[in-house]
Amino acid sequence: MPQIRQISSLATPNAQVAAATKPRRFKYLNAPLMIIVALLTIYGLVVVYSAVSTNSQYNFSRQLMGVALGVVLMVLLFRYDYHQLSHYMTFFLILNVVLILMPHLPLIGMSANGATSWVRIGPLSFQPGEFAKISVILLAASVMQRYGGHLDDPREYLKTLVIMLIPFLCIMTQPDLGTGLVYLFIDAVALITGGANKKFLWITLAVFVGGVVALFTLDPILDQIAGHDVLIKDYQKARLLVFLDNSYDPTGDGYNLQQAKIAIGSGGLFGKGLMNAQQSTLGYLPESATDFIFCVLAEEFGFFGALALLVLYALLIWQCYRVAYNANDLFGAVIVMCVCGMWLFQILENIGMDIGLMPITGIPLPFVSFGSSFMIVNFIMLGFIGSVWAHNRR
């Protein structure tokens, strides 16, 4: 470790010390991060606009409102000192349970596509499961910060696991496996970056893999006993079959994947041009504004357009990563890493399913997919990252 240089005179401090202590010009504004987010959001809005312009089912101004509301919330959060939140673990736990179970309430709960995941209050309708991603991250971070980076007691580790699993179990009552997997990935990132014992982590991974294997082994047996689908639903099996063999049932269960791949592949190097995503405008590609928005982007802007998006994402992750790396408390670092992890997982899953690398699930693409709840949530996450950055002066 290098020795710190002596300060010879307080009147003329060392230039480096001066640079380090110099107040920021914009105290709460991480300019590079904001530029990246602005570019990403604009890019996403353009693509969503072209995807929804021929589809009266979607309302583009709703998406704009989502962005506007999200930006306001984000700026407000910049000034808020996140440190205070680290003591509210129990509150986050209760908030999670309440949020995620909300759609089950009579009068305000709604079911769509076989899942009870929407809530409607007056003119407002939203997915509380999306908002719960924030509280899941805060819960995980507040749990981990209690151990100060040294979670080495097996009993405490187990307790942590149980607390973290509660949101997942709640979301599976809707059921919404896609969002549930996002929660699990957030928890995994929290455990790893929060300093859980390596041995425990490996054991957890082994148990998880074993559990998945057991699930697939037991499922047919249970199905036979019960006479109907118990654990894995038919449509989920079909999606797995399609994932394992991309050419499986191209006009039925494999249709979406086939059309998604055709849309992306036919984009070529430079794409077919804005508003010219024929696969989606002519109705061959379903859910083009939400789950399959990347296909529209890749068809319209080609390989370079897709690469530009990936670069923007990589820069976003990189900037957030820097914030986390330089945060001076574990709570802040874990929050930022969890957000990074969540985005990374969603990017991997959403783009990966379009190109046949991942099984198909309904996970949206951050800052791009249509959905105002999702937009607001992403900006709130950015607000927390900004807060962590602003309250950790260099």
Partner: protein
């Protein structure tokens, strides 16, 4: 493989970049750690509490304290792992996108186009089929049909409305919608030949008729109904097999009409037109968004046949009058028959008729299974079978002309040879009496008289000579000669289903009876049977006609129906060039002897020949009475005229006609006279439609009777 390597390379590159950046930053942090926030805090504190004091006791920050207080430092390995994971994710996604959008672009682009662009084919009318003088035998007509999808059958209201509009009983409409004979997927024809009034009503009130559409079809129409049915053949809708096994240059689409038999099938490639195409941009529901390009259909080429409609009409009429005098088949003499008239000078088929016949229009737009089954029963006598080319029969006495030529050529008989016919012949021993048709015998005859009187015993003697000299002439001497006239082989006419017939040889017989070697012995009786066209000998009426053309002119041309092909602009694009099938090498004096014998047939048998002897032209011919197991005798007559300069040869066979004089001779005579009259323009040009002598209706009524019994 390539993309996998690229993906791996990209991933590795991304990992290296990330690791390099992380290591670089870490290195920089190590060197410049003095600006770390923690350090600054302590410096600040120090500065405040120890003012003015010299900086000799500057505290050092313990390394573990520094790293322990900043999670980014203490969890360095884990943060690094996260960075590697992120790099791997972006690397993999990027590599995969490169492979799909750049390397496999062409493939995906093509599949995208297949999605978006649909080619709609409009059927092209088939070419028209004309006779030699340009009279249309098959035409096209437009037909509006009402189609309904199968689920309409369950929609009571729609069926009721259709029934009311079209004037068809409710149950009949429903039955037609449920009929699956044209395929389970296709729309069912509810009614055809719709009036324009009904078509416009259906189109204007489309919402009251969900699942019902109208379609304009081009169909075959037959102005003379069953005239020349076996020549023309019938058409059908293209089958799934056809669609899957298309040869080069063919482009059949579902619903297309293709030739199934006759010249419709043989000249399918000539008659079929080129589809009109419309390339359209369609959405996922199949709704057309934009028409990209459009071409009009081109009508197929027109086919001109060698058939002369007046002669053909005479042939069809003569057979129908003989076999189905009251319009119903089976009421007259004989159970079936056929007649063919060839132009002996080039092999062109002037008339070809087979009875019972059928109406090709029965098959237009698809034939139901019931009708198809009815056409293929013993009771119906197989109307679809073309007896001229596919029927094989014992040649009987018509064979004697060839036997006589063989005998003369091989030296077994001469013009001066005489034979004594007593009515019975014991040449192959007392146990094997051979009888002549005339019970009392013909007395003493030479070869020419033997032909004229059709004396079997003359030919039994010749057979015995062949048999006795088999060691010097060879066992197959007679067969070898007969095959020079085309027997035992296909003539190569441009119709499908041609039979080869059979000229039996010792080898053939041994093989045929290989399971019973005793039966397979070649004996003298086989020779005496063959020489009079009986036994194992089988010929088609076409072979007999061709063989006699060979005797009449010395040359056998390949029989053919195609004369010319005109394209849709009327230009002649193809003309048939006569091809020689056989040119038997026979001495002129022998030919003259046989020709004289055939000419004498007409004069010797005056009673049977009717007015054939009193024509302005001389006729030569030969009768035959074929014995068929368990059947009445089949009657043959083959003739040609003019005898001294032959133009036409006619062969006629009547199944179970018994006496040629009352069956085959009048039919063949009528055809021959019509053919001769067609040359000098005196033939009757008034051609009426021929009704199918056999109809589905008569069959179903009789079968329903037998069912109720």
């Amino acid at each position: 493989m390539l993309q996998a390597i690229l993906a791996a390379l990209a991933t590795v590159a991304a990992i290296i970049v990330v690791v390099a950046i992380v290591v670089h930053r870490r290195h920089r942090n190590d060197n410049e750690m003095h600006v770390h926030p923690q350090n600054m805090n302590s410096i600040k504190t120090f500065g405040v509490s120890a003012q003015g004091k010299p900086a000799s006791t500057t505290p050092r920050v313990k390394p573990d304290q520094v790293s322990g207080s900043v999670p980014g430092e203490s969890m360095h390995g884990r943060f690094l792992a996260f960075g590697v994971f992120a790099a791997a994710v972006f690397g993999t996604l990027g590599a995969r996108l490169w492979s799909m959008q750049v390397l496999q672009y062409d493939d995906y682009r093509q599949r995208s186009n297949e999605n978006l662009y649909t080619t709609i084919y409009t059927p092209a009318p088939r070419g028209i089929i004309y006779d030699a003088d340009g009279r249309a035998l098959v035409q096209n007509r437009t037909n509006y049909v009402a189609l309904a999808s199968s689920d309409v059958a369950n929609n009571h209201d729609v069926v009721l409305r259709l029934s009311g509009l079209l004037g068809i009983p409710y149950e009949v409409v429903r039955q037609r919608i449920l009929d699956t004979t044209t395929g389970t997927q296709s729309n069912r024809v509810v009614a055809d030949n719709l009036s324009m009034r009904n078509v416009s009503y259906l189109v204007e009130h489309a919402d009251a008729f969900p699942g019902v559409t109208t379609q304009l079809r081009t169909e075959r129409s037959y102005p003379y109904d069953a005239l020349a049915a076996h020549v023309l053949g019938y058409t059908g809708t293209v089958s799934d097999d056809d669609l899957q096994n298309q040869s080069e240059g063919q482009n059949y689409q579902s619903g297309d009409v293709v030739g199934r038999s006759g010249v419709e099938a043989t000249y399918e490639d000539v008659l079929a037109g080129d589809h009109g195409t419309r390339v359209v941009l369609a959405d996922a529901n199949g709704d057309v968004q934009q028409v990209i390009s459009e071409t009009d259909p081109t009508r197929g080429n027109d086919l001109y046949l060698t058939i002369k409609a007046p002669v053909q009409y005479a042939a069809d009429r003569a057979l129908a009058d003989l076999l189905a005098p009251d319009g119903r088949f089976g009421a007259g003499d004989g159970t079936g028959g056929c007649v063919v008239c060839l132009d002996a000078r080039d092999g062109g088929v002037v008339a070809l008729s087979s009875c019972p016949t059928f109406s090709p229009s029965t098959f237009t737009g698809g034939v139901s299974q019931d009708v198809w089954d009815a056409f293929n029963t013993d009771e119906s006598q197989y109307p679809l079978m073309d007896r001229v080319v596919s029927g094989t029969y014992p040649a009987a006495s018509t064979f004697k002309a060839f036997s006589a030529l063989a005998a003369l050529t091989d030296g077994v008989a001469t013009a001066q040879s005489t034979y004594n016919c007593t009515g019975v012949w014991y040449g192959f021993g007392e146990d094997y009496p051979h009888r002549c048709l005339r019970e009392g015998g013909h007395g003493t005859l030479n070869l020419q008289q033997g032909i004229a009187n059709s004396c079997d015993i003359v030919f039994y003697n010749i057979a015995k000579s062949f048999w006795d000299q088999r060691d010097t002439l060879g066992q197959d001497a007679l067969q070898d000669f007969i095959e020079k006239y085309g027997f035992g082989q296909q003539e190569g006419i441009d119709l499908s289903g041609e039979a080869a017939g059979r000229v039996p040889t010792p080898e053939w017989k041994a093989n045929y009876f290989r399971d019973e070697p005793e039966e397979g012995q070649w004996v003298g009786g086989d020779m005496s049977n063959m020489i009079i066209g009986q036994g194992y000998t089988l010929v088609t009426p076409l072979q007999i006609a061709c063989g006699y053309a060979g005797i009449a002119t010395g040359t056998i041309y390949r029989p053919h129906l195609m004369k010319e092909v005109h394209n849709s602009l009327g230009q002649t694009v193809l003309s048939y060039n006569a091809q020689v099938n056989y040119e038997p090498d026979v001495e002129q004096q022998y030919l003259d002897l046989v020709r004289n014998g055939l000419r004498d047939v007409i004069t010797v048998n005056t009673a049977e020949m009717g007015d054939l002897g009193q024509q302005s032209f001389t006729v030569a011919g030969k009768t035959g009475t074929a014995e068929v197991a368990n059947k009445d005798d089949y009657a043959w007559f083959v003739c040609y005229a003019p005898a001294d300069n032959p133009r036409y040869v006619v062969a006629c066979l009547i199944e179970q006609g018994v006496y040629p004089g009352t069956s085959a001779i009048p039919v063949a005579g009528t055809v021959l006279k019509a053919a001769m009259a067609s040359d000098d323009g005196t033939v009757d040009q008034n051609i009426q439609p021929i009704t199918s002598s056999y109809t589905y209706v008569t069959y179903t009524s009789s079968s329903s009777n037998s069912r109720s019994d």
